[in-house]
């Protein structure tokens, strides 16, 4: 995204100086982040801040922070936050959801948190159709602890705990957890986007917005997976990491809306039982 700054004497755009094209949403706190240079978390934070602001949500949002690089998310987003134990954010959010029907409930998790240690919690929150919005940042690595292999690490990818590359015979295969979750009738919306380029960022924002609207409209579980990068963990420059993200990562994790069952649409899967009742729907 480039910012055009009108220059004196630019006769072609005399009034453009008054047109604001970029501003920090109020909900984004005015401080620099602890994220490494080139990290995608900042982009996702900003998109989230924009969407929360556009939908007028910050004053009644209760968010759940994960364990992982985004553990300090509450330092950047000016909304009420509770810190969850590693992987438990969807359970914590469930508790909030049920006692605070009026709140907007948001979780923010990384791939180690959501797709490894917290697999049971995310699956069952989705199965219950909890009316929460889950943001899932997938950069295929444990960044916070020094770049170890994650459940989403690509085959062949070198990490500090797969020094010779991820070997399927020994370490299994990457998990496409968003596709897995999309099978569940409790999931109203599941989509995967990426921060890899400007066009993708715009699409990712639309996905996040949709996932928030689902909750506002009384739908079930909504999840957006954001494919992101980890230049430090991947051992690349930020630019190389973006190229890697656009290439093999996106190839392994296809982009797009995986399911959108509408806000209150009944499940498409015939499970021989009634549609899940959303407690506050």
């Amino acid at each position: 995204m480039t910012l055009h700054t009108p220059e004196p004497g630019d006769a072609a755009r005399p009034a453009a100086a008054a047109r604001l094209v970029y501003a920090k949403p109020d909900v984004l706190r005015d401080r620099s982040t602890h994220y490494c240079p080139g990290c995608g978390h900042g982009v996702v934070h900003r998109l989230l801040a924009e969407v929360l602001t556009e939908l007028d949500l910050p004053s009644h949002t209760i968010a759940v922070a994960p364990v992982g690089c985004a553990v300090f998310a509450y330092d950047y987003l000016e909304v009420d936050f509770v810190e969850a134990p590693h992987g438990r954010a969807p359970a914590v959010a469930t508790g909030i959801r049920r006692v605070r029907p009026e709140a907007f409930v948001l979780t923010y998790q990384g791939d180690g948190d959501l797709a490894a240690i917290g697999t049971a919690e995310i699956v069952h929150a989705a199965a219950r159709g909890e009316r929460i919005t889950a943001i899932f940042v997938n950069n295929g690595i444990y960044g916070m602890t020094g770049g170890q292999m994650a459940p989403t690490t690509l085959l062949g990818q070198r990490t500090t705990s797969s020094p010779n590359g991820r070997d399927a015979a020994l370490m299994g295969y990457p998990i496409r957890i968003t596709e897995m979750l999309a099978q569940l009738p409790g999931v109203t919306y599941a989509a995967r986007g990426t921060i890899a380029d400007v066009a993708s960022i715009g699409k990712l924002k639309a996905m996040i917005k949709r996932a928030c609207q689902v909750q506002i409209e009384g739908g079930g579980f909504a999840l957006v997976e954001a494919l992101s990068n980890c230049p430090v963990g991947w051992g690349m420059t930020p630019q190389q990491s973006i190229e890697h993200l656009k290439g093999p990562v996106v190839e392994a994790y296809p982009l797009g809306v995986i399911v959108d069952r509408g806000a209150t649409v009944a499940p498409t899967l015939d499970l021989g039982c009634p549609a899940p009742a959303h407690p506050e729907a």
């Binding site: 949002t61 509450y74 987003l77 359970a91 605070r100 709140a103």
Partner: protein, 413 residues
Amino acid sequence: MTSRGRPEVTPAPTTAEADAARRARVLMKGNEAIAEAAIHAGCDAYFGYPITPQAELLEWMARRMPELGRVFIQAESELAAINMALGAAATGARVMVSSSSPGISLMAEAMSYMAGSGTPMVLVNIMRAGPGLGGIGPSQSDYFQATKGHGHGDYRVPVLAPASIGEAMELMADAFELAERYRTPVMLVADGILGQAMEPVELRFRTPERHTFDWALTGASGRPARIIKSIDLDPEVLERRNLDLQHKYREITRREVRWESWQLEDADYAIVAYGTAARVARSAITAARERGIKVGLFRPITLWPFPERELARLSRHLDGILTVELSSGQMVEDVRLAVEGRCPVAFHGRMGGLVPTPDEVVGALKALKGKVDRARPPEHRDHTPPVTHWRESEDRAEAEPWAHERARRGGRR
């Protein structure tokens, strides 16, 4: 700060009224009585997972909570259950979880987070025999876990141990009150017998006063955002957080110790026991007194904070102490720490789901007495009766037979 929440004192009932009340008592199963007491205490949300021998508690909540428009979730695991509780409690709701020993191990992680972040919650452990999957029989082998263990880090949680179903009901209200007053998880531990048995109870309930919490997450509307967390990567800051916690624990230790004493006025020996073991001890004490052994009961009601000062004071006037537990001997370590060698401390316990019989306990008592007598004949001993001024009877104890000599260390010292 909250009020002490002392029970209201009602005029003493007439004999006829008392008798009528006695006959009107209701037969309730421990698990169900605990659940109902929690409901009356204002529990907004319950999260659980089935495990024997506490399943009836979950089932009771499954029926009652939705009836009352409150929250019940059968979670996918104990891990999820307690984290749901964490989330709900973070918004200021009055929350509870329950499980039995193996499930409590799974809940340990979140206990640590909740203690660290100051999130109130009540946790009930209907203890079964371990280690591992163990068995479903009654046990007190989670004493270490409850009072010193569960999660990581420098923290404590108040632990309440009822010896009857009626007392368990009373303590549920206290548990919620303590949790909110001190912003801490509070545990109530009972062995499987108390969960499974039925006893007559009076349907007298107490709802602790509701407070608006200046820390609860309700949405940052017209105020700065609030954060409930336990992380602090700056060691200086984290040490301050820990010092605050320790200050809180000192305050709890100063104000919230509870215990019961029975037949200690003229006692040469005391049995120290809690929960079901204390009931066995009572039967044993009656039998031992018939055989001329002057023995009484010291029953900790708070396992943490342990009534160590009271026991220390008592031990100066005793020839010996027998600790009885449904374990290999866990609380006995705290007994010995409190007694500091002032008198011999013996132990008798059963494991694996077995319960010591009164006869066994009398046998252990006689063995202790034999040792003491051989070491120091009775005529050489100072027979000062134990001082009794430290006992403070509770007003509410009148109506509850188990608690008639129960005392609680209050701010009145």
